[in-house]
Symmetry: none
Subunit: 323 residues, 2 copies
């Protein structure tokens, strides 16, 4: 390709065709590569090598080290779509002269779905029914109309609020600031967390693990919860002091715990949590790779269509802030 | 009371007073009796013995055998409210000269919630995770975006459609007629049921048990389902040919079954269904007495108020059809 040709593609006359040329790389995760490539084609894009593309769909979240080489000779490259919501691996690559998007919000829905799965499992006594080999007692309570308290106000919480919209729940969100989260019935700052959990039927942990949140669910936190409430953790195991939770579950301080994440994780064989009847454990499957692939492919499809149509992209990265 | 008095109450002049006289019987389930009695009073009704009542709120779903005796001497009785949605126990009592209502739609929300509980339990592999004592394989799929086929177009299906509204599911409803159900993406007549289950990720049974529906889920039905689909039954055990389901689950014809109702019910100790790893059984708790009592009391309150005001009752039974 000559310089003249390249310059011509940059004129406004040719720009629509130019923007259609989309690269997908690398090929190290074939399933993600294939799904993204199909999404590009479905959206009206034309697959192109990086050197001739206006945009690059990066198809391997683990291959950040290969990124600089891949974009070294890409004069027309204006937009990069990263595959995951967390982009800490790419923090050093964020060239502010380009447009960056990531998987922000893409994976929140499956995790919110899993919050509902775990809450219903506890409320509907599946921890009793599933192991039973004899007709169990007829017990259970409803998530419909329940008081739900969520620690954390990110994409997962936003998804949960959206999914529960017709369920007539009362949702309290605990976050660092006092800024009300849209859709929440009540927003409580973290300093006042005990007031937010006192009347909760379920307390959901959906916060990032930071120095501030590590071990926040300790003996005192668990004592502040209702004795018929469930604790659901889909965030990080380190938010909970495991030994304190073990004591609370054994003593009946709370009704039960449903954990998609544990500390330590994976939970080792023989750990006491495996044997508590009121503890449900799932193996960090809020969002599995199989669930995520069609979701990121759908995001690629939407964004490529928007790119071609000169519309705003979804999941824009704030290059200054790094997320 | 003299015959003259009784005749006078039937004249149009006295009818409003007459209609206020409401009986609640039997007393064999005190909690239901008390809740219904309070609801009658709250709605402006006047508690009366059956012999002097214009309407009877039947307060024990199990006591169908006592029904003929209770209404044997009830010359003014025009309307009977039955407590449950399923009325097969009363099929022989349905005197077409009277108005019959049942709990249709009353229990719909909790049962629809339980459909979602059971579907998520299967999709999210809780049948594997809950009994595990070692970190399980990371498996699962989403209800979000799934193809949901529901057999039956009653109140439970309407509730399910409402609760799943933000979940981006594609809902196919199978019913006797071709009349589209509001909110369903597709409505298919029962004669064409196989076309409705072929691409379903979950097939939900929410239909009344009638001569037409008894045993509809047989070997051929199960063969027509996807081999990765779940069957969820919250209606009546008799809709399913249990032996055919056992074979299908053992052979992997479908991914699994989650049953809130069984045939026989309660499922006896030692029954083979207890021991299939891909079968989840809950003990008919779609709606428990604790969940249902305030709901049926609310229906009685609404219907008695409508009865007194000469408005149409909710949950009318089609005596010909038997539901």
């Amino acid at each position: 390709m000559t310089t003249v040709q390249r310059q011509r593609r940059s004129t406004s006359y040719d720009e629509p065709m130019n923007k259609r040329r989309i690269a997908v790389a690398p090929t190290s995760r074939p399933a993600m590569f294939d799904a993204m490539m199909q999404a590009v084609i479905d959206a009206g894009g034309e697959p192109a090598p990086v050197a001739e593309a206006s945009a690059l769909m990066w198809a391997d979240p683990a291959a950040a080290a290969d990124f600089p080489g891949a974009v070294a000779n890409a004069p027309d490259l204006e937009w990069i779509q990263l595959p995951y919501a967390g982009i800490e691996n790419f923090a050093d690559q964020l060239d502010p002269s380009k447009i960056w998007t990531c998987g922000k919000g893409v994976y929140a829905d499956p995790v919110a779905e899993h919050i509902i799965t775990l809450t219903l499992a506890g409320f509907r006594h599946l921890h009793t029914s599933i192991p039973a080999t004899s007709w169990p007692a007829q017990e259970g309570r409803n998530l419909l109309g329940a008081n739900v308290t969520v620690i954390g106000a990110g994409g997962i919480t936003e998804s949960l609020i959206r999914l529960l919209e017709p369920w007539n729940t009362t949702i309290t969100v605990v976050r660092r600031s006092e800024t009300p989260l849209e859709g929440a019935d009540r927003t409580v700052p973290i300093d006042d967390v005990y007031s937010a959990i006192a009347d909760a039927d379920v307390v959901v942990l959906a916060a990032a693990l930071t120095d501030e949140t590590r071990g926040m669910v300790d003996a005192e936190f668990l004592r502040q919860m209702n004795d018929d409430a469930w604790l659901v953790n889909v965030a990080r195991g380190g938010l909970v002091v495991t030994d304190d939770l073990l004591d609370a579950l054994s003593e009946g301080l709370i009704a039960g715990a449903a954990l998609d994440v544990t500390d330590p994780e994976p939970l080792p064989d023989g750990h006491a949590l495996w044997h508590l009847p009121n503890c449900i454990i799932t193996p960090h499957v809020g969002n599995t790779p199989e669930m995520g692939l069609p979701l990121i492919a759908d995001r690629v499809r939407q964004n490529v269509a928007r790119w071609i149509a000169d519309e705003e992209l979804i999941g824009l990265v704030d290059v200054e802030a790094g997320y």
